[in-house]
Symmetry: C2
Subunit: 193 residues, 2 copies
DNA sequence: TCGATATATATCACACTGATATATATCCGT
DNA sequence: ACGGATATATATCAGTGTGATATATATCGA
């Protein structure tokens, strides 16, 4: 999904500046979709050119150049239509799992440190999602996103804690010679791709 | 993590062409990191210029221009060093959860269709990871990545199936007026960001 | 024999990130 | 009251990656 579409969606929740939209994404979207200023501001510019949003510049007073955007009727329709046409997919990008994939090439204490790092990361994410839970202003859909995020994090955290000791014990016993024995991962038995 | 680094890592498992690396990524990495030809081929070119890999062109016979890459000693060291310095992080990008976040703007049957789509997607992913399990050539680290992927998918699938009926029932009862009542998600009570 | 699929590389427009630059305002400690 | 940190607010850009497209040959099955 394009950042342009996300911005349009954010504006369907209420008028906002680019900065407001960034804050909204950080507060509510961060665990399932990122967006930076470098994509938000150009997106808003384009949306305005396409007349999907109106722009009201608040100049003179205090902050110069505060640009408040408001979605138009055609913008709202365009967003809903685009949502309906967006396939329901997802993609994980995990440096942590890449690290684990190549764990046999790392010293054991580095591996231990990476496991500790991701545990901290998962804990913080989980605490944050727990702090969001139970707000009466949330729609059922928003609660669903938070609930699924929490469920997935709890599972990953539990898996990490269950497997860690065994993983590190095996890793310590790994002879250096085994590192030269590593081959292509051609183990798939022509199954469903 | 850069695709360049991933390519170097792939070559630490054995000599390969760009095409082989793409296949390896699809078979083993797909559930936690993507990479396309458009990034793999330029990465290999760069790696060769930096002398982290050697290139052996197999021309003349049958396929012209088959470029087989082999990691050098300095390439192997560079990869291990870069791995050790890579922070253990991860980032989800989920169009599905964006869809759910804005579920109140969608017709109920479209929402139902999106839930069905993601269920199918999760099931296929899970079946694939199950087909990879138990290969004796896998390192402990590789088994860990597969195991965590399976655990997370099972949890998400269970959550989806548990919540779906309730979600759709609430959605059906949602009056159109409620769609104009939606506000900014300012519900966070200044907790750990 | 013909179409589909697999092998194999290359390129490019478009999109996004992460860093950087530029200001002002406000809050807090000393 | 001063100064530093943080927050508000926009803009730009080099570097990186995607997804599509182009180009060939080989192989497999109907």
């Amino acid at each position: 999904m394009r950042v342009k579409t996300l911005c349009l969606g954010a504006l369907c929740l209420g008028d906002a500046t680019g900065y407001d939209i960034k804050k909204l994404f950080e507060a509510a979207f961060n665990h399932f979709h990122g967006a930076s200023f470098g994509s938000i501001y150009p997106s808003l510019k384009q949306l305005e050119q396409e007349e999907l949003v109106d722009l009201h510049v608040e100049a003179g007073e205090k902050h110069p150049d505060r640009k408040l955007y408001k979605v138009t009727d055609s913008g709202r329709s365009a967003f809903i239509e685009e949502l309906a046409q967006t396939p329901a997919s997802e993609q994980l990008s995990s440096d942590f799992l890449v690290l684990l994939f190549f764990a046999h090439l790392l010293p054991t204490d580095v591996l231990r440190q990476k496991l500790a790092e991701i545990e901290t990361y998962y804990c913080h994410e989980l605490e944050y999602l727990e702090s969001l839970s139970g707000c009466p202003r949330h729609t059922t859909g928003i609660d669903f996103t938070i609930g699924m995020g929490k469920a997935a994090l709890r599972t990953k955290l539990a898996y990490l804690r269950e497997q860690r000791d065994q993983l590190l014990a095996t890793h310590l016993q790994l002879p250096d010679a085994a590192r030269d024995e590593m081959l292509h991962a051609d183990c798939q038995q022509e199954s469903t791709a």
